[in-house]
């Protein structure tokens, strides 16, 4: 192909850079079953580890008898806390500054807690041996309600007894973890006391679980000859895992190699460190053999990171015209037996203080109390930035509740309270600086797209028909306008366990003009290998198809904090662009030298530098790459590569307008999504196909959460939803088609203006579905009810409103 005959547009298209729906490079292996997930790894002499877990939610361990298990042929070892204690590994630090038992140390605090770790020649023998370990338990009183826990005499964490100071300040009770506050308490209460109108509700966001289709697992392999530990695993943050493993095991960090192979979905579940990793590492060190541990689905749902479980008590004040004057929120956060929330250190309740949402609220106050209960630890950001879905759900419910109190249309109430375009960058009452936004444009576009006014007319007619006995179905219109806060984050205020939350990219251009880029992130389905190559392609003019992406290997990738909280594009994507720009800067010098002009006399043109005013005189990036290696250029080192560690100046604030139209059968509680419209503004769009796919998936997870998915416990602390029979994941049959749309408001501080999108649809989706349910019953007097809106709970709403005659 002769470059000179192609137009700039054609050359741009050939790059498959930003803005094009490039097909995914990952899919060639995935579609033929050639992915390499952790359970696909098989090594010579590999052993298998399996856990003995507690059937009790709270019990003292009187004894553990390993004899029968050890007598089973093929069983290599059975580890208990006693075995780990001499190594100091029977407890481990959590991401939230608490500590967690690796194996039960004297007592268990939740059903499914790890009690002993069996190592055997294969997983069948290990499973048999688990049955043979005899544990004698003495049952203790169970606390599954955080409000009860704060009143109870029962001390859950005996190891913390008497400690009045925790990782995040004073503890008020032996089952209390922390109180975290933001905003102005007195001022907010004064506004609420003097307001024309105040709406007050308890908004509960129930406990759920990310439940990726692949469970968590690892393979630990200690090479006794080299002293090097290789740890393969389902890690969303491989470098952080390496540092944590080094800190708790004492193995020097350079002697640990952490590799995240292909990951079968993460959604926050695979951010933290689990006892399975520690035990596998210990077992490999002890046996000198590779040890694999892969949890089963019940273990996954029972013991690895849960999400949400926030009781959010809210008050919202407004003038009688509907202008919001203040927002007050007190949250009781159920953290389970250990505080293992995955939040930046300074934010024990994550970014819950984004709970003023898309609205210009002058005064606000938030307090969060963390509480221990007899439930599994976790509190991870399940397909959302840290606690952002809780915050969005809270404010979007409070807006609806306020609209009811004001007898106003909820769409109009939102419109009159949105932060205006000219207010950005906007300083929120709870401490954030929103980077950019144009909410009114998005909102109007969304309302117009669904024909909002006609829908309201149809709904009014439906109510009349219902009252006249002509139908038993109600129509709900669920509105949401959400603002996310993603891309954690600036190192000055975001770290996890002291690790600053920058991210990184290293790009190496090969002499023939192809390239490899390595990042500190790791894809779990987001398609990084496709999209990051697109960023590089646009930045340096090499075709995306000629750029290989490598992530997840700590021996080769630069240090980074990993993929969660929609931070890959905002942080690592920025690092990628910055590294590419360093390369381009050097390329400019090379081009100028080759073209025999001054550096400033060449200009960038898609895939080349051309002499200003003489576009026919140019050097393509391919030519420049070759010259970089093979031509002596005075004053320049050979080679063409760059690394960027990007510490973002601010978070990014993607937003969106979602509208759900739902039909509800009053008699059975069954629902059907008639229409779902999702408008996302994630700033600059790198790959529209992938964005659309992310939105479909995120909204579907929101559908699951809002309409049935929960981790439910009975009073004895039994997990009632431990298999996929009871843990609701919709199939293709229950899932509707979605309409996606967008506006583009670039982030002013991000090098390419991108904001991140993977989690928006979950953050916006949950209130859209829930508001649709509430909206259907609003004409009959419903103000607030709790998720999940499964059939019986919807039925109960209808029943409570007297709709069953």
């Amino acid at each position: 192909m002769n470059d000179q005959t192609l137009t700039p547009e054609e050359r741009t298209a050939n790059l498959k850079g930003m803005g094009c729906s490039r097909k995914r490079v990952e899919d060639v292996r995935f579609t033929q079953g050639k992915g390499n997930y952790v359970d696909d790894i098989k090594m010579d002499g590999m052993l298998f580890g399996d856990f003995v877990r507690s059937p009790y939610a709270h019990a003292r361990i009187k004894s553990v008898n390993k004899e029968a298990a050890l007598a089973l042929p093929g069983v290599i070892a059975v580890l208990t806390a006693e075995d780990l204690a001499p190594l100091g590994l029977h407890w481990m630090p959590t991401l939230a500054g608490d500590k967690q038992m690796v194996l039960a140390d004297g007592k268990v605090l939740f059903q499914g807690q790890e009690v002993a770790y069996v190592v055997a020649e294969d997983r069948y023998i290990a499973a048999d041996a688990v049955e043979l370990v005899e544990v004698d338990y003495e049952e203790l009183p169970v606390l599954t309600d955080p409000f009860e826990a704060l009143k109870s005499d029962v001390v859950l964490r005996e190891d913390l007894a008497g400690q009045t100071e925790g990782a995040h300040g004073p503890r008020k009770h032996h089952n209390h973890i922390f109180t975290w506050e933001a905003g102005e308490k007195d001022a907010t209460e004064a506004v609420i006391d003097g307001a024309d109108v105040v709406a007050e509700e308890m908004v509960y966001y129930h406990r759920t679980h990310p439940c990726p289709l692949e469970t968590c697992g690892c393979v630990a392999s200690m090479d006794k000859v080299t002293g090097k530990l290789t740890l393969y695993g389902t890690f969303q943050a491989p470098h952080a895992i390496r540092t944590v493993v080094s800190l708790i095991s004492g193995i020097a960090e350079h002697n640990i190699r952490v590799i995240s192979p292909d990951i079968g979905g993460g959604f926050g579940n695979k951010v933290g460190a689990y006892p399975g990793y520690v035990c596998s590492v210990v077992a490999s060190i002890v046996t000198g053999k590779p040890v694999k541990w892969v949890e089963d689905r019940m273990e996954n749902l029972m013991s690895t990171a849960f999400a949400r479980d926030y009781w959010m008590h809210g008050k919202i004040a407004a003038t009688k015209e509907g202008k919001i004057t203040g927002l007050w929120c007190h949250t009781t956060a159920d953290h389970g037996g250990f505080d293992a929330c995955a939040d930046p250190t300074k934010f024990p309740a994550g970014f819950m203080n984004i709970c003023t949402g898309s609205y210009d609220i002058p005064t606000a106050y938030l307090a969060v109390d963390g509480v221990y209960t007899n439930k599994a630890p976790g509190g991870v950001a399940y397909r959302c930035s840290f606690r952002v879905t809780e915050a969005a759900y809270f404010i979007e419910r409070m807006i609806e509740v306020l609209a009811i109190k004001l007898n106003m249309d909820a769409a109009e109430l939102r419109r009159i309270n949105f932060i205006r375009k000219d207010q950005f960058p906007y300083q929120s009452a709870l401490g954030w600086e929103y980077d950019s936004g144009d909410y009114h444009t998005a909102w109007d576009k969304a309302l117009k797209a669904v024909g909002y006014e006609d829908l309201r007319k149809e709904q009014a007619q439906r109510v009349e028909d219902f009252k006249a006995g002509k139908t038993r179905k109600l129509l709900g219109i669920g509105l949401t306008h959400f603002t996310e806060i993603v891309g954690a984050g600036p190192v000055k205020n975001c770290d996890i366990l002291g690790l600053g939350m920058f991210d990184s990219c290293e790009i190496r251009i090969h002499p023939t003009g192809s390239a490899i880029a390595r990042l500190g992130t790791i894809s779990q389905g987001q398609g990084h290998a496709t999209t990051f190559a697109q960023i590089i392609a646009s930045e340096i003019g090499l075709p995306a198809d000629d750029i290989t992406l490598e992530e997840g290997d700590t021996d080769t990738a630069p240090y980074g904090l990993g993929t969660y909280g929609s931070r890959s594009t905002p942080v690592a994507g920025a690092a990628t662009a910055m590294a590419a720009r360093k390369i381009r800067a050097k390329a400019q010098m090379i081009a100028a030298y080759l073209l025999e002009v001054h550096d400033n006399d060449v200009e960038w043109d898609v895939d080349r530098f051309a002499v200003k005013g003489a576009p026919e005189r140019f050097k393509t990036m391919k030519e420049i790459a070759f010259a970089a290696y093979n031509q002596a250029i005075p004053g320049l080192e050979p080679g063409l590569e760059a690394v960027s560690y990007y510490d973002p100046p601010n978070m990014t604030y993607p937003f969106g307008a979602y509208i759900c139209v739902m039909e509800i059968d009053v008699d059975t509680g069954e629902w059907e999504i008639r229409q779902f419209y999702a408008l996302d503004d994630c700033g600059t769009r790198i790959n529209p196909m992938i964005i659309e796919g992310q939105v479909h998936g995120g909204v579907t997870e929101a559908l699951a959460i809002a309409m049935g998915q929960e981790i439910a416990y009975d009073e004895m602390g039994n997990v009632k939803t431990g298999t996929l029979m009871d843990f609701f994941i919709p199939t293709a049959w229950e899932t509707p088609n979605y309409t996606t749309d967008h506006t583009v408001t670039p982030s002013p501080h991000h090098p390419i203006g991108a904001k991140g999108v993977g989690e928006s649809p979950n953050v916006g989706g949950v209130p859209a579905f829930s508001n649709a349910v509430h909206d259907a019953f609003r004409p009959f007097g419903l103000v607030q009810s709790h998720m999940p809106h499964d059939h019986w709970r919807i039925w109960k709403i209808a029943n409570g409103l007297g709709l069953h005659g």
Partner: protein, 150 residues
């Protein structure tokens, strides 16, 4: 979960009461009971194979009797551990009322289950517990009536 029922037994009250304290009779009546050892008048140890449809699990348990209300009735409480399958605990209050030569045995029982069996089988527990306790008392009635008649 609470269960209650009553049955009529063709035997005098003291015979029924004695039978309720007779480990041999109890062993015969408890569905799936493999072993019942009496450690003291108040303490029993039992091994039971619970076989319900696809479920088959072995439980080992301890039962404590409270006989202070003899012969009008007694209460018992116990806990059974089924290893990986989970555990069950509960209690029952049995009252015996004379009705001529016969005795009306009424019971109310509370059963709580934990572990896997609770996670997986909760939808079936109530029916099964009812069936098993029904089986127990029906068999008990039969044996005591037979012995009494014989």
């Amino acid at each position: 979960m609470d269960l209650s029922d009553e049955i009529r037994i063709q035997a005098p009250r003291d015979v029924v009461y004695r039978a309720l304290n007779d480990p041999e009779i109890l062993r015969e009546c408890i569905p799936g009971c493999e072993e019942l050892i009496q450690h003291s008048p108040e303490n029993l140890e039992a091994k039971v194979v619970l076989k319900i449809g696809p479920v088959k699990a072995r439980f080992a348990g301890e039962v404590t009797l409270d006989t202070s209300n003899a012969p009008d009735g007694f209460t018992l409480s116990g806990e059974g551990k089924g290893g990986a399958a989970g555990f069950a605990k509960g209690g029952a209050e049995v009252t015996l009322t004379e009705d001529g030569d016969e005795t009306i045995l009424a019971y109310t029982a509370t059963v709580d289950i934990g572990g896997k069996i609770a996670q997986l089988g909760s939808r079936l527990i109530a029916g099964t517990a009812k069936k098993l306790s029904g089986k127990f008392f029906t068999r008990f009635g039969e044996i005591v009536s037979e012995q009494s008649v014989g």
